[in-house]
Amino acid sequence: MSIILNHVNYIYDGDTEIPVKALDDVSIKIEDGEFIGLIGHTGSGKSTLVQHLNGLVKPTSGGVYYNGEDIHDGDYDLKTLRSKVGLVFQYPEHQLFEVDVFSDVCFGPKNLGLPKREVELRAFDALRQVGFPEEFFYQSPFELSGGQKRRVAIAGVLAMKPEVLVLDEPTAGLDPKGRDEILEQIKRLREETKITVVLVSHSMEDVAKYVGRIIVMNRGKVMFDDVPKEVFRHYKELEAVGLAAPQVTYIMHALREKGFPVNTQATTIAEAKEEILRVFRT
């Protein structure tokens, strides 16, 4: 199980005066079970990139392969692909439309042509997976709070039982508490179901704590693609393109400059604490 993007180029509005190269020779491989953070500034091409993963957007040149098959082959079943690669858009609550939460979550699996029992079972499972309280199942989705709406929308994609879950800025517009809740929920979901997750974000801080691999996009190009520690090593270059490494990285580097022999690779506060204590104890 893997998704491969092979030298993908994508040009927006090819016929206006200024064609915009949204993706510029992007080649990545997403393996089964990975937890990837896709990071980039606004307009870096990360949203366009994720729309390639389930065939919503066709590359201007280059190929996209799911489990070794070219998804833009004439007879490739894109509908099935879209159930395998679940894409949660930015502000997904804007896509809610049903009279109650439960029917809205049913929309995805129903489109797959599953029997009614299976559809409802999946909707129920999905809502439980995102930690949505059962007493609100039959309420109108429009009466919920922002965070709850988002959970419903994520459940709507999860109900299709995807193998890969792609979330485009799932924490945009949420308060810090809502943000942490959603991210924790995604982490828990991954531990439970071993699903592959691609988390799109513009905040290093958000993803550093969770992901095992970071892909940094800049102007349509892959700038870095490595484990977080390696990526944060380039914190000066990241800054140059308007991104920032986690604050802990800055503290560790500052300490080192002042002559404390700390290891600068700590990325979370917990790691940093251990590292600083270790230095001071010796």
Binding site: L87, F89, P92, Q95, F97, G108, L112, F142, V157
Partner: protein, 278 residues
């Protein structure tokens, strides 16, 4: 599909046409349309076509953008042509079963087709070279005299400006919601008419909600900046005629005169119908 709609779509460029005062462009467009309906002879249409071609050339807008606007009126154009072709009484040219194409019908059909095509292209030149804001500013300024009749000119102009402003936003929103629902397995293309109509519900409901939400936000933002209608409101960039605007007016008036003489009066004086045909 959604990108085909050129209405309210501005094409960025720095041509003389772009720089003209919006009032000039509005009046010119109206005069151009009048010229199309005054003219009744092939020479007139040749002059109009030439004028249009030159204006498009100067405007630096690629011709395919004008053609894109045409797509929306293809059906209307076809109906007009077909009806005129078959239903005009007169001398029959071709007879198919009970239907006959008459000479007069052919003439009227061609004339109507040319008029419609020129009309659409002419007005898309205006919308492509004028920002919606400029356009409504121009309209407001031109309609000012109507205030005597208690027409709320400013309010109407503001409503138009907002409506125009929202078209691209809502198109983008439609595109996004459509993609989001396709990602959830929705199918907007296959199935019969009823199924297709039903499949639009997951698109239209979120779209309406989003439109209302945006309208609400905008209203609040306007109120927060103390907007309360047109009374005593001044503009940051008031419209001002420049030399080139006078020149443009002259050109258009000369064009209209030439058009009327060449396409209406001249053919009446000398009977050249026999030579050119109508």
């Amino acid at each position: 599909m959604l990108r085909d709609i050129t209405l309210g779509q501005y094409y960025q460029s720095d041509s003389v046409i772009h720089k003209l005062d919006p009032r000039v462009k509005l009046v010119s467009t109206i005069l151009f349309i009048i010229s199309l309906f005054v003219v009744d002879h092939i020479i007139g249409y040749l002059i109009a076509g030439l004028f249009l071609a030159v204006v498009i050339r100067i405007s630096k807008v690629p011709f395919k953008f004008m053609v894109r606007g045409m797509k929306s009126i293809v059906v209307l154009l076809l109906i007009t042509v077909i009806f005129n072709l078959f239903l005009t009484p007169g001398e029959a040219l071709v007879t198919i079963w009970k239907l006959k194409i008459t000479k007069e019908g052919l003439r009227i059909a061609v004339k109507m087709a040319i008029r419609l095509v020129f009309l659409i292209i002419g007005s898309s030149v205006m919308t492509l070279t004028t920002t919606p804001n400029n356009l409504t500013d121009g309209l407001e300024s031109i309609m000012k005299p109507l205030k005597i009749f208690r027409v709320p000119v400013h309010e109407v102009a503001m409503m138009m400006a907002i409506a125009l402003r929202f078209i691209p936003i809502l198109l983008e929103e439609t595109d996004k919601i459509m993609k989001a629902q396709i990602a959830r397995g929705a199918d907007f293309e296959s199935g019969n008419l009823i199924k297709k109509a039903k499949s639009l519900v997951p698109l239209l409901v979120p779209l309406f909600i989003s439109a209302f939400r945006r309208a609400n936000d905008l209203a609040m933002a306007m109120e927060a900046r103390c907007y309360r209608g047109g009374e005593h409101r001044t503009k940051m960039k008031p419209l001002q005629y420049k030399k080139r605007d006078a020149a443009a007016y002259t050109v258009v008036v000369v064009y209209l005169a030439v058009c009327i003489i060449g396409g209406r009066i001249l053919p009446g004086l000398i009977d050249i119908n026999g030579i050119f045909g109508r």
